[in-house]
């Protein structure tokens, strides 16, 4: 019963924390400055020393409602965080522990946020597990489903049932409502809501190809539509010296040691699998309504065959299987690759760095069709992480209150100030609880609205302050492409990539029943390890393709069949 660790969740969270720290999904910046300006050096220092002189805040009546009411006495809340490696991207003089957004949250609620520790994004989960093991947990923290279960069984966290309705603001409650109850249900154990669930924008799942249009044009190639096109372009990028430096030093496709990862994956091969009608890592219902496991279906073998062939022919980075995301980002940022597979938000990170280094780098997003000419993608769950409050902490509602103010800062609600023109790139660093409770389809909706405003069919003055600012950035980049990397990133993510998704696509996702069974299965980690190993080894040619059949057999035998039986009961 205790071995309910799910590696899948782990990787979800790793990507999730990457996503949080390095780029931004949801939040729309409103700024007090024109968007094109670089980040201003902060004047936070003197403010920090004189916390009473805060006339610039425009607090209203809302501050006297339950979701926002400041504490009479200043209270302290301890948190932990990933993202340390990106702290250098904050404006000069600001840090994770001391920045203007954080100070606004602290002043609004009359709280002090204390960071017990700040680690790199990749290390966050490991560290959190060690902290739980050493019984040294912060007052408020983000955990995954397995940890939620474990902490609940141990009676180590507060029951949040009485607080959600009372202290969450109406936007957050509305977003929960849009998941039709799935989110809160996921956080409920024995009838009690033990954590505040996230709501992940669904746009994060589809993996698209970002391709350097300037390289395509130079080599006289057409943009990709299919897997075959990707192959052709990748081959040309390797062989025809697209950067024109006379050295054969360019890569075709980049990859990482996690070639498949739901719900979001940098440098992932997921889209190629999807194009072959394969949905690895998902437990979904087939046409007969039975839950099946995507990784053991015959379509996976076809996709593996393709990738193994690509690897053999040198189209994929020959060392991808021992690289992590950071290492492969380096290839892209240094201008050695012209294709990057990733979700819609990668213009904010890492592509913005590529454009900073080389303003000619004209990255454009493309969706890959499947064999039937349709778009179908592996989707993540709406909810997979939770904010929990340490048992015995006297103010459990403070977690919700912080999330409320964070939401205001993201969307410029309740006159919340916006200090940062590059907010989308750094919000995860600014906020004490880097956590998303979003509308599931917010990305597509916003993309459509920006498009309508550009076409003149929608009046941009109807936008909130936050969207107004982004719209200014988009317009600026449309007028002078890539003159400002931040503007470019916002335009590419919010407009071009979001519009691709807004055209619609088919979704395949893990069944909620399956997710619950998985969380309690002792054999799952072992099965997962076997799968990862086998797929990587087949991809790199270390094992023949036909070993896939043996893997399928082993998978069913070593507990997979039992797992499916339990799910289909």
């Amino acid at each position: 019963m205790s071995k309910k660790w799910i590696i899948k969740t782990l990787w979800m969270l790793v990507v999730f924390s990457l996503l949080l720290t390095a780029c931004g999904t949801p939040a729309t910046p409103t700024a007090t400055q024109p968007p094109a300006e670089p980040p201003q050096p902060t004047e936070a220092q003197p403010q920090a020393e004189a916390p009473t002189s805060t006339p610039e805040y425009q607090w209203g009546e809302w501050r006297n409602t339950d979701p926002y009411r400041p504490y009479d006495e200043r209270i302290t809340v301890s948190v932990v965080k990933g993202g340390q490696e990106s702290a250098g991207t904050l404006p000069a003089g600001e840090t994770i522990e001391n920045n203007r957004a954080l100070k606004y949250i602290e002043d609004t609620l009359n709280i002090d946020v204390v960071f017990k520790w700040v680690v790199t994004s990749d290390a966050y989960l490991d560290k959190l597990n060690l902290a739980i093991a050493s019984q040294d947990i912060p007052d408020v923290m983000i955990v995954d489903a397995v940890q939620l279960q474990q902490l609940t069984e141990a009676d180590a966290i507060e029951d949040l049932t009485p607080y959600i309705e009372k202290y969450a603001n109406k936007d957050i409650l509305e977003n929960y409502a849009q998941t039709k109850g799935v989110a809160l249900q996921a956080a409920t154990i024995n009838g009690k809501i033990m954590g505040i669930p996230n709501v992940q924008p669904q746009a994060d799942a589809p993996i698209m190809a970002f391709v350097r249009k300037d390289w395509l044009d130079k080599l006289g190639l057409q943009p990709p539509k299919t897997v075959e096109d990707i192959e052709k372009i990748a081959r040309a990028f390797i062989e025809q010296d697209p950067d024109g430096n006379g050295v054969a030093d360019t890569y075709g496709l980049t990859g990482t040691m996690n070639p498949i990862n739901v719900p979001s994956n940098l440098h992932g091969f997921d889209a190629f699998f999807n194009a072959y009608g394969a949905f690895p890592e998902l437990f979904y219902r087939n046409s007969e309504g039975k839950i099946i496991y995507g990784s053991v279906q015959p379509e996976v073998k076809e996709a593996l065959a393709l990738i193994a062939r690509w690897y053999k022919e040198g189209i994929i980075d020959p060392e991808f299987a021992t690289k992590d995301g950071g290492k492969s980002n380096e290839i892209v940022v240094s201008g050695k690759a012209g294709i990057m597979m990733g979700p819609w938000w990668i213009p904010w990170w890492p592509l913005v760095d590529s454009v900073t280094n080389d303003p000619n780098a004209d990255w454009q997003p493309y969706l890959i069709q499947d064999k039937n000419g349709q778009y179908t993608f592996s989707m993540g769950d709406y909810t997979y992480s939770f904010v929990v409050v340490r048992k015995g902490y006297p103010h459990p509602e403070v977690a919700l209150k912080i999330l409320n103010v964070q939401n205001d800062l993201s969307y410029g609600l309740n006159n919340a100030p916006q200090y940062y023109p590059n907010f989308n790139e750094i919000w995860g660093l600014l906020f004490p609880i880097p956590f998303l409770i979003e509308q599931p389809y917010v990305v597509e909706r916003m993309g459509r609205e920006y498009k309508a405003a550009l076409d003149g069919t929608l009046d941009p003055s109807t936008f909130g302050d936050a969207m107004k600012l982004e719209f200014e950035q988009i317009k600026a980049d449309v007028a002078a492409p890539r003159s400002n990397p931040s503007n470019w990133a916002t335009r590419m993510a919010r407009l071009d990539a979001a519009l691709l998704l807004a055209q619609g696509y088919n979704e395949v996702r893990t069944d909620p029943v399956a997710a619950r069974v998985l969380a309690n299965d002792p054999n799952w980690p072992s099965l997962k390890k076997m799968e990862e190993e086998t797929f990587l080894q087949i991809m790199t040619g270390a094992r023949p393709l036909d070993d896939f059949d043996k893997f399928v057999e082993d998978w069913y035998k070593s507990g997979g069949q039992a797992l499916l039986d339990k799910m289909n009961q």
């Binding site: 340390q84 490696e85 990106s86 250098g88 991207t89 017990k116 520790w117 700040v118 680690v119 790199t120 990749d122 290390a123 560290k127 060690l130 902290a131 093991a133 050493s134 019984q135 040294d136 050295v247 030093d249 690289k323 992590d324 950071g326 290492k327 980002n329 380096e330 940022v333 240094s334 050695k336 913005v352 760095d353 900073t356 280094n357 990397p485």
Partner: protein, 293 residues
């Protein structure tokens, strides 16, 4: 006949010398390669052009490190743990080895104690209970977590104990007649006569403390408390990116590869500095460990 044999002998001598020299140099080639990379420019490194000599020689990586407060913070923690841990190891080794070097008659219980220590040495407790124990003591995120668990260097204790036992009994007895207490005996006679052994075990401790990374990784929750090897492990092995677009000017010259190579090299320097001593004493020390009776 004789001359040709001698010639052949000479030739073989030469060949052996040549072979061993080549072996010795190729043992060092990887280190030289790292040094060359740390001194080369970005483009040459990413193109894999740097072998044994720097290409586009520059010191940017080292200049960057000089200003990298996190690096020096970790460096400082390593120095602290070497000093603190070394002192603890030294003191406890001496204090433990001395009574254990007495006879069972002079120190009743000596035989039980020594078996406890030997058992403790060969007992390799699993990492999980070990971690939970240290967490239980609330040592996580303190420097004590790095120095206390290994504070009694049992192998060193045994080396030292054997050394003490080989000190002539006459010295001992002479002091006894003068009415010296065990403390005075230890301080005035045993310590001064054991200097080579003490130097050896101290070097053991220093190298051990400087080189360990794993305890730092799991016992420090806050990365600000990482010792240098852990810090480097996170950067170089776990490969966390550290450079960003914001530092674009720097990236023209510097890549993570050059920077990491430079950090590896700087982390090696303390070992290189004490290496002459290491060579002198370790060679003796490894023999000390195996006293035959």
């Amino acid at each position: 006949m004789i001359t040709s044999k001698r010639l052949q002998d000479r030739l073989i001598d030469g060949l052996i010398a040549l072979f061993l020299l080549t072996l010795g140099i190729s043992t060092l080639l990887p280190l030289i390669n790292t040094l060359a990379i740390s001194l080369s420019e970005r483009a040459a490194v990413s193109a894999g052009m740097v072998k044994l000599t720097p290409v586009g020689f520059n010191l940017t990586a080292y200049e960057y490190i000089l200003q990298d407060m996190k690096f020096w913070r970790a460096f400082g923690i390593s120095v602290l743990r070497v000093v603190l841990g070394g002192l603890l190891n030294f003191t406890l080794a001496v204090l433990t080895a001395f009574p254990l070097s007495r006879s069972e008659k002079a120190f009743p219980g000596r035989n039980i104690f020594i078996w406890m220590f030997v058992f403790g040495m060969i007992l390799n407790v699993g990492i999980v209970p070990w971690y939970l124990t240290i967490a239980q003591y609330k040592l996580i995120d303190t420097i004590w977590a790095l120095v206390l668990p290994g504070a009694v260097p049992i192998w060193n204790v045994i080396i030292l104990m054997n050394f003490f036992r080989n000190i002539p009994k006459e010295l001992d007895e002479a002091a006894r007649i003068d009415g010296a207490s065990p403390w005075q005996l230890l301080w005035h006679i045993y310590l001064p006569t054991s200097l080579p052994a003490l130097a050896t075990i101290t070097l053991f401790s220093i190298v051990g403390h400087w080189n360990s990374f794993f305890d730092g990784l799991i016992l420090m929750n806050n990365p600000d408390n990482y010792p240098l090897q852990t810090y480097i492990q996170q950067l170089v092995i776990a490969d966390r990116p550290i450079l960003h677009g914001g530092q674009a000017q720097l990236m023209v010259k510097l890549s993570n590869a050059t920077l990491n190579a430079a950090k590896l090299f700087v982390a090696m320097i303390p070992i290189l500095i004490i290496y002459p001593f290491l060579q002198r004493y370790f060679v003796k020390g490894i023999m000390l460990g195996a006293v035959k009776e």
